[in-house]
C-alpha cells in the first residue's frame, strides 16, 4: 500500500524521532510513504484563529498537490491532521469558503476537488494493516511494560474520526496485543495546553502536571503520545513542572511509533530513542533480554 506523507514542520525538528520511527514502522510493515513534494506549513491553529481564508488557502496548496498523486495523506502531527481535515471539510461544505480559496489558488494553477482522505498514522496502522497482523510481525514482547496511552485533543476531536471522541481505544488495543499493560488513564484525551506553554506558561504547566500526576498515580512507566506538541510539552517541561510544583517526575514520554517500532524489532537508534530528554534506555535494555 502507498501513501502520501505530510510530515509537518515539527517532525523536521523537535519531533525528529517521530519522523524516524514512523518511517521505520511503515517500512517494516511494507507500507510505502512518499513525501508530498514541496509541502508547506499547514498554518496550525495560529492561522486558523487569525484568518480563516488565509489558513484554508495555504492548506489547500498542500491538498491540491496531494490530490494529483491520488493516495491517502498520512499526517502524523495532530495539528496538521486537524487543519488539513478542517480545510477539506470547509471547502467541501461551505460555498463561500470554497470560492475565496479558489480565488487564491486557481491563478497558481492549483485546484482541490475534495477527493482526498486525510489520515492519522495510528488509523492507517490499525485499520489498513490491523492489530492481529501487526502482532504476528512483532519480534519483541513488550513484557508487561506499564504504559499510559495519551491521545491528546486533536486526533479524536472535533469530528468523529477513526476512534471515539471521549474514550478512544485504538492505541490501547494495539499495545495490549504487543504485551504491554495499559494503566488506567482517565486523562487520555485531556488537553496538554498546546501553545499555551509559550503564551500562558503558568496555565500549561498546571495541565502538564495533572497529566504526569495521573500517569504516575496509576504506576505508568512511560506515557505514549501521538502528537509532537503533547510530546514536547510533557517531556521538555518536566523539569519546570518539578521546579514549580515541588514534584519529582521523571517519566519517559514516547511517540507511539517508537514503542511500536521497538516491538517490531527495529534498533532503538533507528527509532530516535537517543533523542529522549528523559531516557528510556533502562526499559529498552530490560525489554531486549
Amino acid at each position: 500500500m502507498q501513501y502520501t506523507y505530510y510530515p509537518g514542520c515539527s517532525l523536521e525538528s523537535t519531533s525528529k524521532a517521530y519522523d524516524e520511527s514512523l518511517k521505520k514502522v511503515f517500512e517494516l510493515l511494507h507500507l510505502e510513504l512518499h513525501e508530498l513534494p514541496d509541502w508547506n506549513c499547514c498554518g496550525a491553529t495560529m492561522y486558523m484563529s487569525v484568518d480563516e481564508t488565509l489558513a484554508c488557502s495555504i492548506s489547500a496548496r498542500n491538498l491540491a498537490i496531494a490530490e494529483q498523486l491520488g493516495k491517502d495523506v498520512v499526517a502524523p502531527c495532530s495539528s496538521c491532521y486537524t487543519i488539513l481535515s478542517k480545510t477539506h471539510r470547509l471547502m467541501r461544505d461551505n460555498a463561500e469558503v470554497r470560492k475565496r480559496v479558489d480565488d487564491a489558488i486557481k491563478p497558481a494553477g492549483l485546484s482541490y476537488n475534495f477527493s482526498l482522505r486525510i489520515r492519522h498514522p495510528l488509523d492507517v496502522l490499525v485499520n489498513d494493516i490491523g492489530v492481529e497482523i501487526i502482532r504476528l510481525q512483532a519480534r519483541r514482547d513488550l513484557n508487561r511494560l506499564r504504559i499510559a496511552n495519551y491521545y491528546g485533543c486533536q486526533i479524536v476531536r472535533p469530528e468523529r474520526g477513526f476512534d471515539d471522541r471521549e474514550n478512544p481505544t485504538t492505541m490501547d488495543n494495539l499495545f495490549e496485543a504487543l504485551g504491554a499493560v495499559n494503566v488506567y488513564f482517565p486523562m487520555k484525551v485531556r488537553c496538554c495546553g498546546g501553545m499555551l506553554m509559550t503564551t500562558y506558561p503558568e496555565i500549561a504547566l498546571k495541565l502538564v502536571k495533572e497529566l504526569l500526576e495521573c500517569a504516575e498515580e496509576n504506576d505508568a512507566e512511560c506515557i505514549v503520545t501521538t502528537c509532537p506538541l503533547c510530546q514536547i510539552n510533557l517531556e521538555a517541561y518536566q523539569g519546570k513542572v518539578n521546579a514549580t510544583f515541588g514534584t519529582r517526575f521523571e517519566l519517559p514520554i514516547l511517540f507511539f511509533t517508537q514503542l511500536l517500532g521497538f516491538a517490531l524489532g527495529a534498533h532503538p537508534m533507528e527509532l530516535g530513542f537517543q533523542r529522549q530528554l528523559v531516557s528510556f534506555n533502562n526499559f529498552l535494555e530490560a525489554l531486549s533480554q
Binding site: 523536521e12 523537535t14 496548496r61 533523542r275
Partner: protein
C-alpha cells in the same frame, strides 16, 4: 439583526455584524442562538479555571450585547482549541470555532485584554511561514521573545542546548522551493481583504 439596532450603541452593532459575518462561515455557526446555558462547555474546559469569563458566560454576554467585554477578556486567547466543549455541547454549538471568530474580530478591531502577548506570537508565526513556507520553531520563539520579554529568552537557553545536543534543533533552515507560488497565494487573499475589509 437590523431590527435590534435601535437599542445598541453603534460600536456594539458594528462589532456584532462583523462577528456574525465570521460566524456564518462556520458550518452550523448560527446554532449559537440555541445555547441553553447549561454550562457543559465550562465544565468540560480544561482551562476555564484561568479565564476571566467562562465559555458559557461568553455566549450569555454575546446575547446581552456585550461584545466589547468579550473581546477585552483573556478567555478567547486562553482557549487552547482542544474542542472538548464542541464535542459535548448538547445544542451542537461549535464553541471552539466561535472563539476563533471572536479572536478574528478582536484582531481586526485591535481590541485586546491588558498585558496581552498572543497577538505577537501569531504575527511572528505568520511572518515566518510567509517567508519560508515552513515554521521554524527556534526562530518563532526568538521572535516572540524579542517582542515580549527579551530577558526571559535567557531562561530558554538550557532547554535549547539540551534539545540541540539530541539533534532536535535543525541546523539548516527548511524551506519550500516554490516560495513565490505560496507568497502569491497569500498576497491574493490579503489583497481581497483590503478591498472588502469584512470578508
Amino acid at each position: 439583526m437590523a431590527s435590534h439596532d435601535y437599542y445598541m450603541t453603534k460600536r456594539e452593532s458594528d462589532l456584532r455584524s462583523a462577528f456574525l459575518e465570521q460566524v456564518q462561515l462556520v458550518p452550523d455557526g448560527m446554532k449559537i442562538k440555541q445555547c441553553i446555558q447549561c454550562g457543559t462547555c465550562t465544565g468540560s474546559c480544561p482551562v476555564s479555571f484561568a479565564m476571566d469569563i467562562t465559555p458559557r458566560k461568553t455566549i450569555a454576554l454575546f446575547r446581552a450585547g456585550e461584545m466589547e467585554t468579550i473581546l477585552r477578556s483573556n478567555t478567547i486567547w486562553v482557549c487552547a482549541s482542544c474542542y472538548a466543549c464542541t464535542v459535548r455541547c448538547p445544542a451542537g454549538i461549535k464553541i471552539t470555532d466561535t472563539m476563533y471568530a471572536f479572536k478574528r474580530i478582536a484582531m481586526e478591531k485591535k481590541i485586546y485584554p491588558k498585558h496581552f502577548n498572543i497577538h505577537a506570537l501569531s504575527t511572528a508565526f505568520i511572518d515566518i511561514v510567509n517567508t519560508f513556507g515552513r515554521n521554524q520553531e527556534v526562530k518563532l520563539l526568538m521572535k516572540f521573545g524579542m517582542k515580549t520579554h527579551p530577558l526571559k529568552l535567557f531562561a530558554q537557553i538550557p532547554l535549547g542546548k539540551r534539545l540541540h545536543s539530541k539533534g532536535r534543533i535543525p541546523i539548516k533552515t527548511s524551506m519550500i522551493r516554490d516560495r513565490k507560488q505560496l507568497s502569491e497565494i497569500i498576497a491574493r487573499v490579503l489583497k481581497k481583504q483590503e478591498q472588502h475589509p469584512q470578508s
